[in-house]
């Protein structure tokens, strides 16, 4: 029973009957999520995923549906029927025309609104609010999250199509496929907020090296690092810079897709660990080196390609390319606002409520608030004055612990795997998350084959991480093997030699960031974390999307 919300439970018969296939949400799982996040994610996140295609009058899809199965999140696509398609098509054409006329505008306005409101939210001093003011704030964060999730997905449905059709046009006119370096080059060199943060982090690392402070960053634990640095003047100056950096970006959290993990404000050792890795790698920001080249190269490629096309095709191509590029940029940027900041705002409010509940003996520790649902928190704060929430919390904690114990045993696909291609084609966003591999490993003599890649061939030692909690296992020069990556993994791209993922499709985080950082990648192999073990020697070819285990 998924945390007392049976409506979310996967029904082995009914859900296979009415949906072609269900895919494991590798972006979110493993590890399993806590009840508050599940409540939030289903009621607002998946809501946004239905709202957006409906607002676009998308003729193909009504969005995603979600279920929980043994603590894991599974997702599928809600396809339209023939009659719905016919009705929606002309309306969609009008809406889509406006998007194509100015694709960059779709995200810009929303980003401005979110930026303003969310930064105002995080600036509020929650401790200074009265109990009822805090409950009122809690309602507001949930209400604003509804808007945030709408902003989250609308541009995806508006712009994502452009990416897909652009891919097809490239193949048709110029025989260029997504695994071709030119494809990467056309979508690279756009600045996004996360790479800025990573660059600043890397600047701090360089500053430490220049000031001769590397030793302090040795193998010591993060808190020990600060203690060592505090013993010298140069070290104290560096700590000052570091604190300013954390003050500025402290809303970031290592694990995005959860509410129970702390922000950098609450725990700065996370980001200190990232900086330690940079110092150990001993070089400047890879992204900084690579970007100017990428911008220039992208512009060059754009011109070259346009010149190859017949006159009649150029305007169409240009418009589609703009849409595809805008889609790629939005895909990276929205994470900061619609996920990181939004969830941080909700977390901070939840934790303050948790502190007050704990002070009133309603729960044992503030973190227990993560085992309640959103409306229960509102009740416990705003309706009941003092009540014992322990029974609920303990029951759910037990369920959660049970999920954590299940071995990595959740199939990537439930239902009919051969239908994966169909649902990916029906829903643009699904293809962002997952796509069929381009070949079968046995046909090409490889251990694994992915659906997309960032160019380059490397050989090295694999490090398998089953989630952000294991991020500290990564060391410079390793080849990272993960179910998926998200924003908090971005700094790691600066030091790894290559990356392989289970999940992911054509616009996944790992793919976009790998390109930006010039790191070879193979995305969407479906089984990498099962077939590869930490310490094994592996070789990857990002252009061919193939992985070989050498041992």
């Amino acid at each position: 029973m998924p945390y007392d919300q049976p409506i979310y439970e996967f029904d082995e018969e009914f859900d296979i009957k009415y949906y072609k296939a269900w895919v494991l949400g590798t972006q979110w799982f493993p590890p399993p999520q806590t009840p508050l996040f599940v409540d939030f994610h289903f009621s607002l996140g998946l809501y946004g995923l239905k709202w957006a295609p409906a607002m676009m009058s998308d003729p193909r899809t009504k969005g995603w549906d979600g279920r929980m199965r043994k603590g894991a999140l599974y997702l599928s696509v809600i396809e339209t029927n023939e009659e719905e398609k016919k009705q929606l098509e002309p309306i969609w054409r009008e809406k889509m025309r406006k998007v194509l006329e100015d694709p960059w505008a779709v995200w810009e306005g929303r980003k401005r609104n979110l930026r303003e409101k969310l930064f105002n939210f995080v600036a509020i001093d929650l401790r200074g609010l009265t109990d009822m003011e805090l409950v009122d704030h809690w309602y507001e964060t949930w209400h604003y999250s509804k808007y945030s999730e709408e902003c989250h997905f609308y541009p995806m449905y508006a712009l994502g199509q452009g990416n897909i059709v652009f891919r097809k046009l490239l193949k048709q006119l110029l025989n260029i496929t997504p695994d071709d370096p030119i494809y990467s080059e056309l979508h690279s060199g756009f600045e996004n907020e996360f790479t800025k943060i990573t660059e600043e982090m890397s600047t701090l690392a360089d500053a430490a090296t220049e000031a001769g402070l590397q030793e302090g960053f040795g193998e010591a634990r993060p808190d020990e690092v600060l203690a060592k640095l505090a013993t010298s003047e140069a070290g104290r100056q560096w700590i000052e810079q570091f604190n300013q950096f954390v003050q500025k970006y402290g809303y970031m959290r290592r694990r995005q897709e959860e509410l129970c993990t702390p922000t950098w404000w609450e725990d700065n050792t996370q980001v200190l660990a990232d900086i330690q890795r940079f110092v150990a790698a001993g070089k400047g920001s890879r992204s900084r080196e690579v970007r100017p080249r990428l911008v220039e190269r992208r512009k060059q490629r754009e011109e070259e390609i346009l010149a190859k096309l017949p006159q009649e095709e150029r305007e169409t191509f240009r418009k589609l390319m703009a849409c595809s590029q805008a889609s790629s940029v939005y895909s990276e940027e929205h994470t900061l606002y619609c996920e990181t900041l939004t969830y941080t705002v909700v977390r901070l409010a939840a934790m303050e409520l948790g502190r007050r509940f704990a002070a009133k003996d309603m729960i044992d520790s503030p973190d227990d608030v993560m085992f309640l649902h959103g409306d229960e928190i509102a009740h416990a704060g705003g309706v009941q004055e003092r009540c014992n929430l322990r029974k609920i919390v303990n029951k759910r904690r037990e369920e959660y612990d049970g999920y954590r114990k299940i071995e990595n045993d959740h199939p990537l696909i439930l239902g009919d795997p051969t239908k994966l291609g169909e649902i990916v084609d029906a829903d643009v966003i699904f293809g962002v998350m997952v796509a069929p591999p381009i070949a079968r490993p046995e046909d090409v003599g490889a251990t694994l084959v992915g659906c997309a890649g960032a160019p380059g061939v490397v050989e090295g030692t694999a490090v398998v991480c089953m989630g952000e909690e294991e991020i500290d296992k990564v060391y410079p020069g390793a080849i990272l093997v993960v179910p998926a990556t998200a924003a908090s993994w971005t700094p790691v791209f600066n030091i790894i030699k290559g990356i392989v993922t289970d999940g992911g499709g054509y616009l996944t985080h790992a793919l976009i960031v790998a390109r930006e950082f010039g790191v070879p990648a193979v995305i969407g192999t479906q089984e990498a974390t099962r077939k590869i073990k930490t310490g094994q020697r592996i070789k990857i070819d990002g252009s061919l999307c193939r992985v070989w285990v050498m041992d």
């Binding site: 194509l100 452009g162 897909i164 009649e312 418009k319």
Partner: protein, 343 residues
């Protein structure tokens, strides 16, 4: 309907004369009527051809050849034998003076106007029914004797297997051709090519498409080289397009033409200046208006006189039906929905 003559000067013709001299010739007359420059020339009428058949007594023999192959024209081997037999028959004839004299007279007049003793001409076929590419053209024909010889050949080309089969498949008498011939002074082309008064690929009627190369326009028409392409907006005359590397051109040589190398310094140079392009487009607008729709035009800029008096029009015919024009966004939307129907 005017009295039937054997020959007509181009200026005497207009669109009513399709059946008289063939569509191509009639169109040349129309072009000259709207004040556009057409090379000096004359036409040999369909009546002249029919008269030729009568005077030589070929009709009987031709009937015999066709009857012999009745019902079997579709068989390529049989059909080609018929075609060859008829062509040999025609080319074995001598044009009777009744017909040859007026032709000689017109040719002499052309030479006089041009101020040379033997002016080079183009001898082009013009059917009453359009059969693009089915019949022949001879360029750089010089001297009365050669002109008459080529006229026989062009008459003969009405009986290529392709032309015969075309008539046969379109419910016409395979045996009877209605063929006119245009004899035009050959333009000493600096650059030549085609002009389409609408975009044939996109269907966009807001722009014209030009293709040009150095030398005679045949290199462009025949598609053997990669010409310069110009797209020109009709309203604002903005020019875009691609200048290609022009390696070969066709020039008069001997008693015909040959394809020679383009000098290195001209290969990457645009074969038309912007002014020359715009002049063509302006005239193209008049042609389109006069012919009442998108038109396919052959033209040449002569090396022999200054711009813009050196622009000659060699042919004009209606373009094939255009694809329905879609703006780029419509096309993209179609592509996106195409995903819906066939992933």
């Amino acid at each position: 309907m005017r009295s039937k003559e054997l020959v007509y000067w181009i200026e005497e013709l207009d669109k009513k004369d399709n059946d008289l001299v063939g569509k191509k010739c009639a169109n040349l007359g129309e072009l000259s009527r709207i004040g556009l420059r057409v090379p000096p020339g004359f036409t040999i009428s369909v009546y002249a051809w029919n008269r030729f058949v009568d005077l030589t007594g070929m009709a009987e023999e031709m009937r015999g050849i066709f009857d012999h192959a009745r019902g079997e024209l579709d068989l390529p081997v049989k059909g080609q034998k018929v075609s060859q037999a008829v062509r040999d028959l025609i080319e074995a004839q001598e044009i009777p003076d009744e017909i040859a004299d007026p032709i000689r007279g017109c040719y002499a007049r052309l030479c006089e106007k041009a101020g040379v003793s033997e002016v080079p001409v183009a001898v082009r076929s013009a059917g009453a029914i359009s059969m693009p590419g089915a019949m022949e053209t001879y360029l750089n024909v010089t001297g009365e004797a050669d002109v008459l010889k080529k006229i026989l050949r062009v008459w003969g080309s009405a009986y290529t297997y392709r032309a015969v089969i075309y008539r046969h498949n379109h419910n016409m008498s395979a045996q009877h051709a209605s063929i006119g011939i245009a004899v035009l002074q050959l333009v000493d082309a600096k650059a030549a090519g085609v002009l389409m008064t609408a975009n044939p690929t996109s269907g966009d009627t807001g722009e014209m498409v030009l293709e040009s190369n150095w030398g005679l326009g045949e290199s462009v028409v025949s598609g053997v080289i990669n010409p310069d392409r110009f797209n020109v907006g009709k309203k604002d005359l903005t020019i875009t397009g691609t200048i290609n590397t022009k390696l070969k051109k066709i020039v008069p040589a001997g008693d015909g033409t040959e394809m020679i190398d383009v000098p290195i310094e001209l290969q990457e140079l645009p074969s038309l200046t912007d002014d020359e392009v715009r002049q063509l487009v302006r005239d193209g607008l008049r042609i389109e208006e006069h012919f009442g729709g998108p038109t396919d035009v052959e033209w040449a800029y002569s090396a022999g006189s200054p711009f813009p008096e050196n622009l000659y029009f060699l042919q004009a015919r209606p373009m094939k039906p255009l694809p329905k024009y879609k703006d780029p966004i419509e096309k993209i939307l179609d592509m996106m929905l195409g995903e819906l129907n066939s992933p």
